[in-house]
Symmetry: C2
Subunit: 547 residues, 2 copies
């Protein structure tokens, strides 16, 4: 006879093993390792909450320190690898398999461990894709999450860094898995309930508050005048022309420059109230001047950003905040909004090939792509219209006789040369060789050329929507690739023809005077300016304070 | 000076107006109209929870009965229009604008009201798209939701029909909106917390339990032998060939036939454990025999299905269930899984054109598409590989020189003639004329031909992935369109050529003997058989009981 409650019985057995360590739902920090050894079984799928910002760092340390003779071959299913411990688990033999989304700071070590045979990688995902698999074939058996506070019933309060916690806990708790939370404090009553207590099995007060990475803070002092020029092109040549009203910006100085030009350059062009009203975005400090200027109607966020807490609390009309006044972020729902409700995604990359495919994967680094593939892909299930979406679709389909359809604007914004004079434009992505050496099924492409609508460099804008055929596309890309070998190999006549047709546009074609592109245009030129713009509410982390 | 807490202050004003009606969070049913008049303001965006299954029917009645002199011009943002009251609000002048996803049963009346100028439609969305907009430009100011029970703190228990409630409440509560829940009962302690009480403002015990529509129950007695034949083709010609392991089925007898052939025909082909293990699917009763046969590893659900409660409770290894034993469904997360974690979507439609575009929109009916556009679109942000996804991508790109990429299998399964001998294949979709008359920006296409991989009819399978160019595609479609005018107009030589190349396959080409396609192959031939297969756990609604 078939047993249909294997998971429930097994859960009960795990809870029974842990029982001696527990009072209510509480477990002492000193007993954390014993708890994990009691509830974990070899081969378990485990989600150790690694977010973009918030880290379950105490539980990560405990997990990495377990005896691999007792706990081994775990299959880690977590969105971000940010801490050394996220890789220590593989080096020490506690875990052996990995499915993930982003490993920015650990990308080099991850590649080395893979080459050394210390782990196998299932796949690299975009966030929402990994979350989707939590409910199909990658459901965690045990999850280790982080919150600000818990009450005696196990109700969790995350504060502004809610991030992945709801989706991780929902997948685990409702498939009879085990949910363990580290919290900064235990309280009688939480300020608000982000995760209901009956979804949580164990609560551990960690010896130190969980770590939060300020990933989205860009110091305006580091923005160059070339970036100001590119930002002007984006605002006038794309945002204004398509009436872009809902959007996401990637991380980086390029897009920070755009944010800082909204209250100056864009305002002067009369664009306030006409562009950039709704955002799916972490609370970028660089957005403060645009918010203060009244450009921004709403911001829903994947996670929070250190130092922005009081500013957010004072701007509830803009941000999503709870009864306690602090933000509720939610990576899964914000990614859904980023995919389906946004007209435009703009971000940067390390390499772009002649078809417009881009990747941040380079040799010796397996970095993953986070949310970029989700937001930087045409949302083919989208059915609601907006001026931007309709115009992009019309341009892409003009004369094709195909069924009319809208299209997302996906913009890649790069300088033609990166640091150390590495060209951003290449004949062949490093991703090909990486796929070969790491045994991947496909080259790890972040954004496919087929989904890219525009490439912006200091030389101009290439509108790929208007290109007919792969050859035109290639020349359009070469035509903005500057003095890189890819750019120098352009067919000059073809490029001039593309320029005549408006497929390539130089700053002067859009009516931009390059001499205007100075740092004076930035609404804030330093972090201190941002603090001032916020009325003193923004409290930047120490590393960004140089006054 | 700019005011940054307009929404909070306005919320406080609304709560103050309602205060005389409230004890704790409770409001008497008799005071429901007074409550709505107190908290609603003209022009509000309102989400009245209309799901596929669960309906906030009491609140719908109260809303529709309000005095339009006091409450008018509401903008309804709700996924499903299922009840007459969902349209009464427009007819009576309480509401005037609509953004939605699906209106199946009310599609005709909706078209008539639109033609009569009683409302304007913002857009038709797929579910996840509408939810995404809840966090950008369509955030509800007030939401009216339904739950099974509430405790004194306002904690809500939804039971298995969680559906849209979490995403609606999260968007509303964290943008300083007002959350009102109707519940079937008030209890001291809820069986589990689905929505935390501090996200909920008012709780009303409704005079009768909320309505639930059994939308996914198909009586096996109504499955025809043609449908059995088509199901055999899908199993052998698609599921087996691509090793389809994660999938979603649409509503309908065509896909119910597939579900009922898994334990018989598919088992005989040796496919158990090789296909159809992970599902994003409501608990279809027709899936019971496949579950009992051990075909199914997991099912995550958008909503529940009436009568399946005890069966689900007894099969926790398969379904996602809570500490109380009942299911937790979640439409937003299941749609994310359906989009990103599934290799295949298969569904039916009313009309398909020569490019493979399909629509259920016909003249005089504005039906919407529910989840189909989300699940029936290539998920271009997907990056994890599976055999099915890689093979589909290879077929679509063979010889193109393009960057390799996987692709989702999107299958349309239709008989060449529908009821009343209406051809399923047409030269021009009715959607064109509907767009014209209703002033839509684009024809309402459910699934674009560009996203369709296969079309299956009783005549055979057309593999559109293998077609090169639009002409081949057209002939492939004509080649399975039978005796419809579209099918009769085929170029016979071209079609035979496509057959030689395996682009069109007849049953005999796949090794299927049509004489085998009898109802005897169905694992259950009646609803009673389903009950028997469930060991008596499935308890079908009365309308499906004829014994």
């Amino acid at each position: 006879m078939h047993i249909w409650d294997t998971a429930s019985r097994n859960r009960d057995a795990r809870l029974a093993r842990a029982a001696p360590l527990v009072r209510g739902k509480g477990v002492e920090a000193a007993d954390a390792a014993a708890l994990l050894e009691a509830v974990l079984e070899p081969g378990d799928r485990v989600c150790l909450e690694g977010n973009n910002q918030k880290q379950a760092d105490f539980l990560a340390r405990v997990l990495a320190g377990l005896d691999p003779a007792r706990v081994h071959d775990l299959h880690m299913v977590q969105s971000v690898l940010a801490l050394p411990q996220h890789l220590d688990v593989f080096e020490r033999g506690v875990a052996s398999r990995l499915d993930f989304s982003f490993s920015g700071p650990q990308a080099g070590r991850l590649a080395a461990l893979l080459a050394g045979g210390r782990l196998s990688i299932g796949a690299i995902h975009t966030y929402l894709e990994l979350f989707g698999r939590y409910f199909t074939d990658l459901t965690p058996r045990v999850c280790l999450v982080a919150a600000q506070a818990a009450d005696g019933d196990g109700n969790l309060y995350t504060g502004p860094n809610t991030e992945d916690t709801p989706v991780i806990v929902e997948a685990t708790a409702f498939k009879r898995g085990i949910v363990i939370a580290q919290v900064n404090e235990r309280v009688d009553k939480v300020a608000r309930v982000d995760i209901p207590g009956d979804w949580v099995d164990f609560v551990i007060q960690s010896p130190t508050p969980h770590y939060i990475e300020p990933l989205f803070t860009r110091d305006p002092a580091q923005i160059s005048e070339i970036q100001v020029l590119m930002a002007m092109m984006v605002i006038k040549g794309i945002y204004a022309e398509y009436e872009v009203n809902s959007l996401n910006h990637g991380i980086g100085f390029d897009t920070a420059a755009i944010e800082l030009l909204l209250p100056t350059y864009a305002e002067r062009l009369g664009l306030k109230g006409k562009i950039c009203r709704h955002w799916a975005l972490n609370p970028h400090p660089a957005l403060i001047p645009a918010i203060e200027a009244g450009f921004v109607r709403s911001v829903h966020s994947f996670g929070s950003e250190l130092g922005m807490e009081e500013y957010i609390r004072a701007r509830p009309d803009v941000f999503f905040t709870g009864p306690d006044g602090s933000m509720r972020s939610n990576r899964a729902l914000c990614q859904a909004a980023g995919h389906y409700a946004c007209d435009l995604f703009i971000g940067s990359t390390l390499q772009i090939d002649l078809a417009g495919n881009s990747s941040t994967a380079t040799l010796g680094r397996i970095a993953g792509f986070g949310g970029a593939p989700n937001m930087g892909a045409d949302a083919r299930g989208r059915r609601h219209a907006s001026p931007a979406w309709l115009k992009a679709g019309r341009q892409a389909r003009a004369g094709s006789g195909r069924m009319p359809r809208g299209q997302k604007l996906v913009v890649q914004m790069v300088e033609t040369f990166r640091e150390h004079m590495q060209p951003a434009f290449v004949d062949t992505l490093d991703a090909w060789e990486l796929a070969e050496t790491a045994g991947m099924d496909l080259p790890p492409v972040m954004i496919y050329g087929e989904d890219v609508s525009h490439i912006v460099t200091e030389e101009g804008i290439a509108n790929l929507l208007l290109c007919r055929g792969e050859e035109e596309r290639e020349q359009a890309i070469r035509g903005v690739a500057g003095y890189t070998p890819v750019g120098l190999a352009r067919d000059r006549r073809a490029v001039e023809n593309l320029r005549d047709r408006g497929i390539i546009r130089r700053p002067e074609d859009i009516g931009i005077d390059k001499r205007e592109a100075t740092r004076d245009l930035l609404a804030a030129r330093t972090v201190k300016d941002l603090v001032r713009a916020s009325g003193g509410l923004y409290d930047p982390p120490k590393r960004f304070r140089n006054w």
